[in-house]
Protein backbone atom coordinates (compact mmCIF):
# COMPACT_ATOMS: atom_id res chain seq x y z
CA UNK A 1 0.00 0.00 0.00
CA UNK A 2 1.89 3.00 1.18
CA UNK A 3 5.60 2.39 0.64
CA UNK A 4 8.34 4.93 0.93
CA UNK A 5 11.63 4.31 -0.71
CA UNK A 6 13.72 4.12 2.42
CA UNK A 7 16.98 2.42 1.75
CA UNK A 8 18.50 0.47 4.57
CA UNK A 9 21.43 2.54 5.85
CA UNK A 10 24.86 0.98 5.84
CA UNK A 11 26.77 0.84 9.09
CA UNK A 12 28.96 3.81 8.29
CA UNK A 13 26.03 5.85 7.20
CA UNK A 14 24.06 5.93 10.40
CA UNK A 15 22.41 9.27 10.81
CA UNK A 16 23.74 11.12 13.85
CA UNK A 17 21.69 13.99 15.22
CA UNK A 18 23.68 17.21 15.75
CA UNK A 19 24.53 16.98 19.40
CA UNK A 20 25.54 13.35 19.09
CA UNK A 21 27.65 14.16 16.12
CA UNK A 22 29.77 16.31 18.35
CA UNK A 23 30.52 13.36 20.55
CA UNK A 24 31.25 10.90 17.76
CA UNK A 25 34.76 10.54 16.49
CA UNK A 26 35.80 12.65 13.55
CA UNK A 27 35.78 11.21 10.11
CA UNK A 28 34.18 7.87 10.85
CA UNK A 29 30.61 9.01 10.65
CA UNK A 30 29.24 10.44 7.45
CA UNK A 31 25.92 12.06 7.96
CA UNK A 32 23.22 11.31 5.48
CA UNK A 33 20.56 13.96 5.08
CA UNK A 34 17.68 11.76 6.15
CA UNK A 35 15.23 12.70 8.85
CA UNK A 36 15.03 10.21 11.70
CA UNK A 37 11.84 8.20 11.74
CA UNK A 38 11.33 9.00 15.42
CA UNK A 39 12.60 12.24 16.96
CA UNK A 40 11.67 13.13 20.52
CA UNK A 41 13.16 15.89 22.65
CA UNK A 42 11.93 16.56 26.16
CA UNK A 43 8.58 15.00 25.42
CA UNK A 44 6.17 14.81 28.30
CA UNK A 45 3.02 12.70 28.23
CA UNK A 46 0.38 12.58 30.91
CA UNK A 47 -1.89 9.66 31.67
CA UNK A 48 -4.70 10.97 33.85
CA UNK A 49 -2.43 13.58 35.39
CA UNK A 50 0.39 11.12 35.98
CA UNK A 51 3.59 11.92 34.06
CA UNK A 52 4.14 8.63 32.29
CA UNK A 53 6.80 10.22 30.09
CA UNK A 54 8.76 12.87 31.92
CA UNK A 55 11.00 14.30 29.23
CA UNK A 56 12.00 11.72 26.62
CA UNK A 57 14.89 12.19 24.22
CA UNK A 58 14.97 9.59 21.49
CA UNK A 59 16.12 9.27 17.91
CA UNK A 60 15.47 6.30 15.70
CA UNK A 61 16.79 6.22 12.17
CA UNK A 62 15.04 4.60 9.26
CA UNK A 63 15.48 0.88 9.05
CA UNK A 64 16.72 0.54 12.59
CA UNK A 65 15.53 -2.04 15.06
CA UNK A 66 15.57 -0.54 18.53
CA UNK A 67 14.88 -2.40 21.74
CA UNK A 68 13.30 -0.59 24.68
CA UNK A 69 14.21 -2.18 27.95
CA UNK A 70 13.51 -1.14 31.48
CA UNK A 71 11.64 -2.00 34.64
CA UNK A 72 7.87 -2.27 34.85
CA UNK A 73 6.11 1.06 34.98
CA UNK A 74 9.00 2.79 33.28
CA UNK A 75 6.90 4.16 30.46
CA UNK A 76 7.78 1.81 27.63
CA UNK A 77 4.18 1.19 26.63
CA UNK A 78 3.38 4.88 26.83
CA UNK A 79 6.37 5.69 24.66
CA UNK A 80 5.21 3.23 22.04
CA UNK A 81 1.70 4.63 22.14
CA UNK A 82 3.01 8.15 21.88
CA UNK A 83 4.89 7.18 18.75
CA UNK A 84 1.62 5.86 17.34
CA UNK A 85 -0.05 9.18 17.99
CA UNK A 86 -2.48 7.70 20.50
CA UNK A 87 -1.30 9.69 23.52
CA UNK A 88 -1.03 13.48 23.36
CA UNK A 89 2.43 14.93 23.87
CA UNK A 90 2.05 17.90 26.17
CA UNK A 91 5.41 19.62 25.82
CA UNK A 92 8.61 19.05 23.94
CA UNK A 93 9.33 17.99 20.41
CA UNK A 94 7.86 14.84 18.92
CA UNK A 95 8.19 13.98 15.27
CA UNK A 96 7.37 10.57 13.84
CA UNK A 97 7.70 9.80 10.13
CA UNK A 98 7.84 13.49 9.46
CA UNK A 99 4.59 14.31 11.26
CA UNK A 100 4.70 16.70 14.21
CA UNK A 101 2.73 14.95 16.96
CA UNK A 102 2.24 18.06 19.04
CA UNK A 103 0.30 19.63 16.20
CA UNK A 104 -1.45 16.73 14.50
CA UNK A 105 -1.22 13.22 15.79
CA UNK A 106 -3.84 11.70 13.51
CA UNK A 107 -2.10 11.58 10.17
CA UNK A 108 0.74 9.42 11.42
CA UNK A 109 -1.56 6.65 12.55
CA UNK A 110 -2.15 5.11 9.18
CA UNK A 111 1.56 4.58 8.70
CA UNK A 112 2.33 2.85 11.97
CA UNK A 113 1.38 -0.58 13.14
CA UNK A 114 1.01 -1.39 16.79
CA UNK A 115 0.98 -4.66 18.67
CA UNK A 116 -0.02 -4.02 22.23
CA UNK A 117 -0.58 -6.16 25.27
CA UNK A 118 -4.19 -6.63 24.38
CA UNK A 119 -5.20 -8.41 21.24
CA UNK A 120 -7.22 -5.68 19.57
CA UNK A 121 -9.46 -8.31 18.03
CA UNK A 122 -13.20 -8.89 18.04
CA UNK A 123 -13.73 -12.01 20.11
CA UNK A 124 -16.83 -13.18 18.34
CA UNK A 125 -15.45 -12.90 14.83
CA UNK A 126 -13.23 -15.51 13.23
CA UNK A 127 -9.53 -15.13 12.54
CA UNK A 128 -10.12 -14.48 8.87
CA UNK A 129 -12.91 -11.96 9.59
CA UNK A 130 -10.69 -10.04 11.94
CA UNK A 131 -7.66 -9.89 9.69
CA UNK A 132 -9.78 -8.92 6.73
CA UNK A 133 -11.57 -6.17 8.64
CA UNK A 134 -8.42 -4.64 10.07
CA UNK A 135 -6.63 -4.86 6.75
CA UNK A 136 -9.46 -3.27 4.83
CA UNK A 137 -9.97 -0.55 7.42
CA UNK A 138 -6.36 0.52 6.87
CA UNK A 139 -6.89 0.58 3.14
CA UNK A 140 -5.17 -2.69 2.31
CA UNK A 141 -6.87 -5.22 0.12
CA UNK A 142 -8.00 -8.79 0.64
CA UNK A 143 -4.85 -10.05 -1.06
CA UNK A 144 -2.65 -8.55 1.62
CA UNK A 145 -4.92 -10.01 4.28
CA UNK A 146 -4.58 -13.49 2.74
CA UNK A 147 -0.82 -13.11 2.47
CA UNK A 148 -0.63 -12.12 6.12
CA UNK A 149 -2.69 -15.10 7.19
CA UNK A 150 -0.43 -17.42 5.23
CA UNK A 151 2.75 -15.86 6.59
CA UNK A 152 1.56 -16.32 10.15
CA UNK A 153 0.46 -19.89 9.53
CA UNK A 154 -3.19 -19.12 10.13
CA UNK A 155 -4.75 -20.19 6.87
CA UNK A 156 -5.45 -23.76 7.77
CA UNK A 157 -7.98 -24.95 10.27
CA UNK A 158 -7.69 -21.80 12.34
CA UNK A 159 -9.09 -19.48 9.68
CA UNK A 160 -12.69 -19.94 10.65
CA UNK A 161 -12.31 -20.32 14.38
CA UNK A 162 -13.72 -17.53 16.54
CA UNK A 163 -10.98 -15.63 18.31
CA UNK A 164 -12.56 -16.30 21.68
CA UNK A 165 -11.76 -19.99 21.26
CA UNK A 166 -8.08 -19.53 20.48
CA UNK A 167 -5.18 -19.78 22.87
CA UNK A 168 -3.37 -16.58 23.74
CA UNK A 169 -0.46 -17.48 21.50
CA UNK A 170 -2.76 -18.00 18.55
CA UNK A 171 -4.46 -14.69 19.31
CA UNK A 172 -1.09 -12.98 19.28
CA UNK A 173 -0.43 -14.42 15.86
CA UNK A 174 -3.76 -13.15 14.65
CA UNK A 175 -2.97 -9.67 15.96
CA UNK A 176 0.36 -9.86 14.18
CA UNK A 177 -1.35 -10.89 10.96
CA UNK A 178 -3.74 -7.97 11.27
CA UNK A 179 -0.78 -5.67 11.71
CA UNK A 180 1.41 -6.88 8.91
CA UNK A 181 -1.48 -6.83 6.44
CA UNK A 182 -1.35 -3.06 6.74
CA UNK A 183 2.32 -2.89 5.68
CA UNK A 184 3.19 -0.17 8.21
CA UNK A 185 6.33 1.92 7.92
CA UNK A 186 6.97 1.94 11.64
CA UNK A 187 6.38 -1.13 13.74
CA UNK A 188 5.65 -0.63 17.43
CA UNK A 189 5.66 -3.90 19.30
CA UNK A 190 4.99 -4.18 22.99
CA UNK A 191 6.55 -7.44 24.21
CA UNK A 192 6.03 -9.32 20.96
CA UNK A 193 7.52 -12.55 22.21
CA UNK A 194 5.28 -12.84 25.22
CA UNK A 195 2.80 -15.76 25.20
CA UNK A 196 4.34 -17.25 22.05
CA UNK A 197 6.03 -20.62 21.85
CA UNK A 198 9.49 -21.17 20.37
CA UNK A 199 8.19 -21.46 16.84
CA UNK A 200 6.14 -18.33 17.34
CA UNK A 201 9.12 -16.39 18.65
CA UNK A 202 11.25 -17.43 15.71
CA UNK A 203 8.42 -16.34 13.48
CA UNK A 204 8.38 -12.90 15.09
CA UNK A 205 12.12 -12.55 14.61
CA UNK A 206 11.67 -13.51 10.98
CA UNK A 207 8.92 -10.97 10.55
CA UNK A 208 11.07 -8.23 12.01
CA UNK A 209 13.89 -9.13 9.67
CA UNK A 210 11.53 -9.10 6.69
CA UNK A 211 10.12 -5.77 7.73
CA UNK A 212 13.53 -4.17 7.98
CA UNK A 213 14.54 -5.64 4.64
CA UNK A 214 11.45 -4.05 3.15
CA UNK A 215 12.38 -0.68 4.58
CA UNK A 216 10.34 -0.41 7.75
CA UNK A 217 11.61 0.64 11.16
CA UNK A 218 10.95 -1.39 14.26
CA UNK A 219 10.70 -0.20 17.84
CA UNK A 220 9.91 -2.84 20.39
CA UNK A 221 9.82 -3.34 24.12
CA UNK A 222 10.79 -6.63 25.63
CA UNK A 223 11.95 -8.31 28.80
CA UNK A 224 13.57 -11.17 26.90
CA UNK A 225 16.91 -9.46 26.59
CA UNK A 226 18.91 -12.30 25.03
CA UNK A 227 16.62 -12.89 22.10
CA UNK A 228 15.80 -9.21 21.75
CA UNK A 229 19.43 -8.11 21.66
CA UNK A 230 20.11 -10.63 18.93
CA UNK A 231 17.45 -9.02 16.77
CA UNK A 232 17.95 -5.37 17.63
CA UNK A 233 20.54 -3.01 16.22
CA UNK A 234 20.70 -1.14 19.48
CA UNK A 235 18.92 -0.89 22.78
CA UNK A 236 17.88 1.96 25.00
CA UNK A 237 16.85 1.91 28.64
CA UNK A 238 13.62 3.48 29.75
CA UNK A 239 13.22 4.27 33.43
CA UNK A 240 11.00 6.66 35.30
CA UNK A 241 9.63 8.21 32.14
CA UNK A 242 12.95 9.14 30.54
CA UNK A 243 15.19 7.39 28.10
CA UNK A 244 18.88 6.78 28.48
CA UNK A 245 21.10 6.48 25.39
CA UNK A 246 18.35 7.95 23.28
CA UNK A 247 20.50 8.92 20.35
CA UNK A 248 22.60 6.76 18.12
CA UNK A 249 26.15 7.31 19.22
CA UNK A 250 27.16 6.25 22.69
CA UNK A 251 25.79 9.40 24.10
CA UNK A 252 24.69 9.11 27.70
CA UNK A 253 27.68 10.77 29.22
CA UNK A 254 27.87 14.52 28.87
CA UNK A 255 24.37 15.00 27.49
CA UNK A 256 22.42 17.74 29.16
CA UNK A 257 19.54 16.47 31.22
CA UNK A 258 16.05 17.43 30.09
CA UNK A 259 15.18 20.85 31.52
CA UNK A 260 12.97 20.54 34.61
CA UNK A 261 9.47 21.90 34.25
CA UNK A 262 9.00 25.02 36.34
CA UNK A 263 7.01 24.38 39.46
CA UNK A 264 4.98 27.49 38.77
CA UNK A 265 4.03 26.75 35.23
CA UNK A 266 0.80 24.82 35.12
CA UNK A 267 0.95 21.99 32.70
CA UNK A 268 -2.54 21.81 31.39
CA UNK A 269 -1.56 22.49 27.79
CA UNK A 270 -4.43 21.56 25.60
CA UNK A 271 -4.74 24.53 23.26
CA UNK A 272 -2.20 23.12 20.88
CA UNK A 273 -2.97 19.51 21.45
CA UNK A 274 -5.04 18.25 18.49
Amino acid sequence: MIRAGYARPRADQLYAPPHCRALAGTGTVRTVVMEPVVHFRGAICLLERFPALAGVDLDVAAGEVVLLQGPNGAGKTTLLRACAGLVPVITGTARVLGHDLTVDRRSVRRQVGMLGHSTGLYDDLTVADNVRFWARSAGAGLAEAEAALTRLGLDGRLRDVAVARLSSGQRRRTSLAAMIARRPLLWLLDEPHATLDQAGRDLVDGLIADAVAAGATVLFASHELDRANAVAHRSVTVAGGIVQDGCTASGAAGRPAAPPVSAHAPLGNVANVP
Binding site: R81, A84, L86, R109, R110, V112, G113, M114, G116, H117, S118, T119, G120, L121, Y122, D123, D124, L125, T126, D129, F133, W134, R136, S137, A138, G139, A162, S175, A178
Partner: protein, 222 residues
Amino acid sequence: MFRDAALVAGKDLRLEWRSRVTTNQVMPFAVLVLVLFAFALDPDRRILVEATPGLFWLAVLFSALLAIQRAFVVESIDGVRDGLRLSGLDPAGIFLGKAAGIAVHLLALELVLGAGVAVFYGAHLGSPVLLVLTCLAATTGLASAGSLYGVLAAGLRVRETILPLLLLPVVAPVLIGATQAFEAGFRGTPADGWRWFGLLAVFALMYTIIGLFAFDPLLEEA
Protein backbone atom coordinates in the same frame (compact mmCIF):
# COMPACT_ATOMS: atom_id res chain seq x y z
CA MET B 1 -16.72 8.03 4.49
CA PHE B 2 -19.50 5.82 3.17
CA ARG B 3 -17.06 3.09 2.37
CA ASP B 4 -15.84 3.16 5.95
CA ALA B 5 -19.42 3.19 7.20
CA ALA B 6 -20.24 0.17 5.07
CA LEU B 7 -17.17 -1.63 6.40
CA VAL B 8 -18.06 -0.97 10.02
CA ALA B 9 -21.74 -1.78 9.56
CA GLY B 10 -20.81 -4.97 7.77
CA LYS B 11 -18.49 -5.91 10.59
CA ASP B 12 -21.22 -5.30 13.16
CA LEU B 13 -23.76 -7.36 11.25
CA ARG B 14 -21.27 -10.17 10.77
CA LEU B 15 -20.54 -10.00 14.49
CA GLU B 16 -24.24 -10.33 15.18
CA TRP B 17 -24.50 -13.20 12.73
CA ARG B 18 -21.75 -15.09 14.55
CA SER B 19 -22.72 -14.29 18.11
CA ARG B 20 -26.51 -14.00 17.78
CA VAL B 21 -26.71 -11.80 20.86
CA THR B 22 -29.46 -9.56 19.58
CA THR B 23 -31.59 -12.37 18.27
CA ASN B 24 -31.07 -14.56 21.28
CA GLN B 25 -31.21 -12.03 24.04
CA VAL B 26 -32.49 -8.61 23.10
CA MET B 27 -35.52 -9.73 21.10
CA PRO B 28 -36.77 -12.11 23.77
CA PHE B 29 -36.26 -9.28 26.23
CA ALA B 30 -38.48 -7.01 24.16
CA VAL B 31 -41.23 -9.59 23.98
CA LEU B 32 -40.83 -10.17 27.70
CA VAL B 33 -41.36 -6.46 28.33
CA LEU B 34 -44.65 -6.65 26.43
CA VAL B 35 -45.73 -9.56 28.55
CA LEU B 36 -44.73 -7.79 31.75
CA PHE B 37 -46.78 -4.78 30.77
CA ALA B 38 -49.75 -7.06 30.40
CA PHE B 39 -49.10 -8.32 33.92
CA ALA B 40 -48.75 -4.83 35.33
CA LEU B 41 -51.81 -3.41 33.66
CA ASP B 42 -55.24 -4.83 33.90
CA PRO B 43 -55.60 -7.98 31.82
CA ASP B 44 -58.76 -6.30 30.62
CA ARG B 45 -57.85 -5.94 27.02
CA ARG B 46 -59.33 -2.49 26.58
CA ILE B 47 -56.63 -0.80 28.59
CA LEU B 48 -53.91 -2.65 26.80
CA VAL B 49 -55.34 -1.77 23.41
CA GLU B 50 -55.56 1.90 24.31
CA ALA B 51 -52.04 1.98 25.63
CA THR B 52 -50.56 -0.15 22.87
CA PRO B 53 -48.61 2.53 21.00
CA GLY B 54 -46.97 3.79 24.17
CA LEU B 55 -46.15 0.31 25.40
CA PHE B 56 -44.74 -0.66 22.02
CA TRP B 57 -42.36 2.28 21.98
CA LEU B 58 -41.40 1.83 25.60
CA ALA B 59 -40.43 -1.74 24.81
CA VAL B 60 -38.43 -0.50 21.81
CA LEU B 61 -36.71 2.12 23.95
CA PHE B 62 -35.64 -0.29 26.66
CA SER B 63 -34.46 -2.82 24.13
CA ALA B 64 -32.59 -0.08 22.31
CA LEU B 65 -30.65 0.56 25.49
CA LEU B 66 -29.53 -3.05 25.47
CA ALA B 67 -28.70 -2.98 21.78
CA ILE B 68 -26.61 0.18 22.13
CA GLN B 69 -24.78 -1.14 25.15
CA ARG B 70 -23.97 -4.29 23.22
CA ALA B 71 -22.77 -2.36 20.18
CA PHE B 72 -20.31 -0.39 22.24
CA VAL B 73 -19.21 -3.03 24.68
CA VAL B 74 -17.87 -4.82 21.66
CA GLU B 75 -15.72 -1.80 20.83
CA SER B 76 -14.56 -1.34 24.39
CA ILE B 77 -12.49 -4.48 24.44
CA ASP B 78 -8.97 -3.52 25.27
CA GLY B 79 -7.12 -2.66 22.14
CA VAL B 80 -10.06 -2.53 19.74
CA ARG B 81 -10.59 1.16 20.37
CA ASP B 82 -6.93 1.83 19.72
CA GLY B 83 -7.19 -0.30 16.63
CA LEU B 84 -10.07 1.79 15.34
CA ARG B 85 -8.15 4.98 15.92
CA LEU B 86 -5.03 3.64 14.28
CA SER B 87 -6.88 2.25 11.34
CA GLY B 88 -7.36 5.58 9.70
CA LEU B 89 -11.09 5.01 9.30
CA ASP B 90 -13.00 8.26 9.04
CA PRO B 91 -14.67 8.76 12.46
CA ALA B 92 -17.80 10.10 10.78
CA GLY B 93 -17.86 6.89 8.78
CA ILE B 94 -17.48 4.82 11.93
CA PHE B 95 -20.42 6.74 13.42
CA LEU B 96 -22.61 6.10 10.41
CA GLY B 97 -21.63 2.46 10.39
CA LYS B 98 -22.39 1.95 14.08
CA ALA B 99 -25.67 3.83 13.81
CA ALA B 100 -26.64 1.82 10.75
CA GLY B 101 -25.90 -1.43 12.53
CA ILE B 102 -27.96 -0.42 15.53
CA ALA B 103 -30.77 0.78 13.28
CA VAL B 104 -30.93 -2.56 11.49
CA HIS B 105 -31.17 -4.39 14.82
CA LEU B 106 -33.89 -2.02 16.01
CA LEU B 107 -35.90 -2.40 12.83
CA ALA B 108 -35.81 -6.15 13.15
CA LEU B 109 -36.86 -5.71 16.75
CA GLU B 110 -39.79 -3.52 15.78
CA LEU B 111 -40.97 -6.09 13.30
CA VAL B 112 -41.04 -8.73 15.99
CA LEU B 113 -42.66 -6.37 18.46
CA GLY B 114 -45.26 -5.36 15.91
CA ALA B 115 -46.22 -8.97 15.51
CA GLY B 116 -46.21 -9.35 19.29
CA VAL B 117 -48.44 -6.35 19.77
CA ALA B 118 -50.88 -7.54 17.14
CA VAL B 119 -51.10 -10.92 18.83
CA PHE B 120 -51.00 -10.05 22.50
CA TYR B 121 -52.85 -6.80 22.51
CA GLY B 122 -55.09 -7.34 19.53
CA ALA B 123 -54.12 -4.10 17.85
CA HIS B 124 -55.53 -3.23 14.44
CA LEU B 125 -53.27 -1.46 12.02
CA GLY B 126 -55.09 1.50 10.47
CA SER B 127 -52.79 3.23 8.01
CA PRO B 128 -49.60 1.24 7.47
CA VAL B 129 -47.72 3.93 5.54
CA LEU B 130 -47.66 6.26 8.50
CA LEU B 131 -46.68 3.43 10.80
CA VAL B 132 -43.80 2.28 8.65
CA LEU B 133 -42.43 5.77 8.08
CA THR B 134 -42.72 6.57 11.76
CA CYS B 135 -40.74 3.46 12.55
CA LEU B 136 -38.02 4.48 10.12
CA ALA B 137 -37.74 8.02 11.39
CA ALA B 138 -37.88 7.10 15.05
CA THR B 139 -35.36 4.29 14.60
CA THR B 140 -32.92 6.57 12.81
CA GLY B 141 -33.19 9.10 15.61
CA LEU B 142 -32.73 6.47 18.29
CA ALA B 143 -29.76 4.93 16.51
CA SER B 144 -27.99 8.26 15.96
CA ALA B 145 -28.53 9.65 19.44
CA GLY B 146 -27.77 6.23 20.87
CA SER B 147 -24.48 5.96 19.00
CA LEU B 148 -23.44 9.37 20.26
CA TYR B 149 -24.16 8.59 23.85
CA GLY B 150 -22.90 5.06 23.45
CA VAL B 151 -19.44 6.18 22.48
CA LEU B 152 -19.54 8.86 25.16
CA ALA B 153 -20.34 6.34 27.84
CA ALA B 154 -18.17 3.57 26.44
CA GLY B 155 -14.96 5.07 27.76
CA LEU B 156 -16.27 5.25 31.32
CA ARG B 157 -16.17 2.63 33.99
CA VAL B 158 -19.76 3.37 34.93
CA ARG B 159 -21.00 2.94 31.40
CA GLU B 160 -23.88 0.58 32.16
CA THR B 161 -25.61 2.92 34.57
CA ILE B 162 -24.87 6.24 32.99
CA LEU B 163 -26.05 5.44 29.47
CA PRO B 164 -29.76 5.23 30.38
CA LEU B 165 -29.52 8.39 32.47
CA LEU B 166 -27.96 10.31 29.60
CA LEU B 167 -29.87 8.85 26.69
CA LEU B 168 -33.46 8.48 27.87
CA PRO B 169 -34.20 12.17 28.58
CA VAL B 170 -32.79 13.10 25.20
CA VAL B 171 -34.97 10.61 23.32
CA ALA B 172 -38.11 11.41 25.33
CA PRO B 173 -39.45 13.47 22.40
CA VAL B 174 -39.06 10.39 20.20
CA LEU B 175 -41.21 8.45 22.62
CA ILE B 176 -43.86 11.16 22.64
CA GLY B 177 -43.81 11.68 18.89
CA ALA B 178 -43.75 8.03 17.90
CA THR B 179 -46.54 7.17 20.32
CA GLN B 180 -48.75 9.94 19.00
CA ALA B 181 -48.03 9.00 15.41
CA PHE B 182 -48.83 5.36 16.13
CA GLU B 183 -52.04 6.33 17.84
CA ALA B 184 -53.09 8.25 14.79
CA GLY B 185 -52.01 5.36 12.63
CA PHE B 186 -53.98 2.80 14.63
CA ARG B 187 -57.06 4.97 14.72
CA GLY B 188 -56.92 5.35 10.99
CA THR B 189 -56.65 9.15 11.08
CA PRO B 190 -53.18 9.69 9.66
CA ALA B 191 -53.68 13.41 9.18
CA ASP B 192 -52.95 14.01 12.86
CA GLY B 193 -49.92 11.80 12.71
CA TRP B 194 -47.90 13.46 9.96
CA ARG B 195 -47.04 16.40 12.16
CA TRP B 196 -45.42 14.01 14.60
CA PHE B 197 -43.60 12.27 11.81
CA GLY B 198 -42.14 15.65 10.88
CA LEU B 199 -40.87 16.10 14.42
CA LEU B 200 -39.28 12.66 14.38
CA ALA B 201 -37.64 13.37 11.04
CA VAL B 202 -36.17 16.63 12.36
CA PHE B 203 -34.85 14.83 15.42
CA ALA B 204 -33.26 12.10 13.32
CA LEU B 205 -31.68 14.57 10.92
CA MET B 206 -30.34 16.77 13.70
CA TYR B 207 -28.74 13.97 15.66
CA THR B 208 -27.25 12.36 12.60
CA ILE B 209 -25.56 15.61 11.68
CA ILE B 210 -24.39 16.20 15.24
CA GLY B 211 -23.03 12.67 15.34
CA LEU B 212 -20.99 13.13 12.18
CA PHE B 213 -19.10 15.94 13.84
CA ALA B 214 -19.06 14.94 17.47
CA PHE B 215 -18.07 11.28 17.10
CA ASP B 216 -14.44 12.09 16.33
CA PRO B 217 -13.55 13.93 19.58
CA LEU B 218 -15.53 11.40 21.57
CA LEU B 219 -13.63 8.47 20.07
CA GLU B 220 -10.32 9.97 21.16
CA GLU B 221 -9.00 9.94 24.66
CA ALA B 222 -10.31 6.70 26.00
